[in-house]
């Protein structure tokens, strides 16, 4: 087995006095789809945001593809990374938000080509051609010129996925990508994610869609109160949960 795509070791995160992550240790292999489940406030989003250093962790270590996130180790000393180096690490990690967060003043195409042009230095016409391919891939090849406000929630989320993919990330983080959607729009976003997983993308998905987790997830991790309570392949966690808290949670959502 090669190096894991994500490796978290005893990750702690505090907001003031409130300890939100209390020692998370886990690994995501390349090409794996890991689904994070857990009750509200258990720290799922916070952990996801620590993976691309949107939140600074208080102790522990996170590596993405072998590189320490947010710090560099020289000798036995840990050095904080410069902002541009952190940004460089983030380029490789795509993130999809619950509330889409498309740039409201830009068309779908402009949303997608912005980072490739400004950050990765891609030529404009190349970036545009790639945007077209990506929009076709998420089934919106004819909506390149639409502004986010003119798109449905499901369409916005698909553009947001295309935008993240435009940076050719090696890892994709999804934070409840379908929670803000009307029920009839959930399917179209999950379809795109399913296709992405089938293409071999490494994905960490915070979701309440147990159906998706069962079908697409390679691993399911159940978090509660800042710790990993239980993890394993979907069949065993869903059908035969060992821990009381998992059982209680699943009996509510299933």
């Amino acid at each position: 087995m090669s190096e894991p795509m994500v490796k978290a070791e005893a990750v702690h995160k505090r907001f003031g006095r409130n300890e939100v992550l209390k020692g998370i240790t886990l690994e995501v292999a390349a090409g794996e789809v890991m689904c994070l489940l857990g009750p509200s406030g258990s720290g799922k989003s916070t952990f996801l945001r620590c993976i691309n250093h949107l939140e600074k962790i208080n102790s522990g270590r996170i590596w993405v593809d072998g590189d320490l996130v947010g710090y560099s180790q020289r000798g036995d000393k840990l050095h904080e990374m410069r902002e541009s180096d952190v940004a460089g690490e983030r380029e490789q990690i795509g993130m999809v938000f619950q509330r889409f967060n498309l740039f409201g003043h830009m068309t779908a195409e402009q949303n997608i080509i912005e980072a490739p042009i400004r950050v990765a230095g891609t030529k404009r016409d190349v970036a545009k051609a790639e945007a077209k391919v990506l929009m076709d891939r998420v089934g919106l090849g004819d909506r390149l010129d639409a502004y986010p406000a003119q798109l449905s929630g499901g369409q916005q989320q698909r553009v947001a996925i295309a935008r993240a993919l435009a940076m050719k990330p090696k890892l994709m983080l999804f934070d409840e990508p379908t929670s803000a959607l009307d029920p009839e729009l959930v399917g179209e976003v999950l379809d795109v994610m399913r296709a992405l997983a089938a293409d071999g993308m490494t994905m960490v998905v915070v979701t309440h869609e147990t159906g998706f987790a069962k079908e697409v997830g390679d691993t399911v991790v159940f978090m509660d109160d800042g710790v990993v309570v239980e993890s394993g392949d979907p069949a065993s966690v869903f059908d035969n949960p060992q821990h009381k808290r998992t059982q209680a949670f699943l009996s509510k959502v299933l």
Partner: protein, 322 residues
């Protein structure tokens, strides 16, 4: 037939519904108010036109005189440069205000406190007399040797004093406007930009500021119109902008009223042009929002007149992108 068992499809009405033609409600109050206002306006116009002391002949004579036009140009120039200076300082101060460094935040707060807390006229005079305070302006290493030295009297011409006074003061006001704009942009926008690997300044320039513009532009338009009029204070520095230009003329010919009318006409022309420009700029920065931009005052008046005449109401043109 199988069709017979199924409930009928709800079909759209086959015939277009008949347009309602009702007798409108009588509104006598509106009519009376309208007539009264027209009578008063007519009386005013008559008095303005027939009172010889308005000196309309003199107004016509000086409206396009070279001295007035030169003053007008200087007023426009001052307005534009002072606003550019003000906006730049405002953006810098607003970004400083949001900095994680407390000293930077405090510096920005002090600037705003100082420049908002004193009258701009006093500031203008201060800059005018700055040479008394610092006769020599030197550039060099702080607390170390000077590299270049200027005589402040040569450096601070009335024009420079005017720009410093107006621009630095405007910066303090603009910073509050810009800050409100920056705070109006959803945090998720910055998050998304960061997650894509965009740098802090890129995120500010490409993502946050353009969206903050929607909130920043309308009050900035008002500030510009305010600035246009505030430039008249510069007349105390003997800088020949529009007001000082007409003052020079009436100091010689004693026709104060007609010349003040000349100045007022030009101020009105400029503010009207600015209001129209503001509408189009707002429309540009409103792109991507579902909300239509409300029509300007002029458009609203036009609209209500056209409804009176039972003609088509002009709808503001669609924003591009729709």
């Amino acid at each position: 037939m199988a069709d017979a068992e199924q409930p009928p499809e709800p079909a759209a009405a086959a015939v277009a519904p008949e347009e309602i033609k009702a007798v409108p409600v009588r509104r006598p109050g509106r009519l009376i108010a309208g007539v009264l206002i027209i009578i008063v306006a007519a009386a005013l116009v008559r008095s303005v036109a027939t009172n010889p002391r308005f000196g309309w002949g003199t107004v016509g004579e000086y409206l396009f005189s070279p001295v007035v036009l030169d003053g007008l140009l200087k007023t426009i120039e001052l307005t534009i440069i002072a606003m550019v200076v003000g906006i730049l300082i405002g953006v810098i101060l607003a970004v400083m205000r949001l900095s994680p460094n407390p000293i930077v935040v405090a510096a920005s707060g002090f600037y705003i406190w100082l420049f908002r807390g004193t009258p701009v006229l006093v500031q203008l005079l201060f800059w005018n007399f700055i040479a008394a305070l610092y006769p020599v302006v030197a550039l060099g290493i702080p607390f170390g040797p000077a590299l270049v030295e200027f005589n402040a009297n040569n450096l601070i011409t009335p024009f420079v004093a005017a720009l410093l006074g107006l621009g630095l003061n405007e910066g303090a006001y603009m910073s509050e406007i810009v800050r409100a704009g920056l705070l109006s942009v959803d945090e998720g926008q910055e998050e998304a930009a960061k997650a894509l690997g965009m740098r802090r300044m890129q995120t500010m320039r490409r993502i946050i500021l353009p969206q903050a513009m929607r909130v920043i532009i309308p009050p900035t338009g008002n500030e510009t119109i305010g600035m246009l009029k505030t430039t008249s204070l510069v007349s105390v520095l003997a800088y020949t902008e529009l007001l000082y230009a007409v003052q020079l003329i009436y100091a010689a010919n004693y026709k104060q009223i007609p010349l003040l009318i000349v100045a007022s006409i030009w101020y009105l022309v400029l503010t009207t042009i600015l209001s129209i420009g503001q509408y189009f700029i707002e429309r540009h920065y409103g792109r991507g929002t579902a909300r239509a931009i409300p029509p300007t005052l002029l458009m609203r008046i036009w609209q209500s007149f056209s409804t009176w005449r039972h003609t088509e109401v002009p709808v503001p043109e669609q924003r591009h992108g729709l």
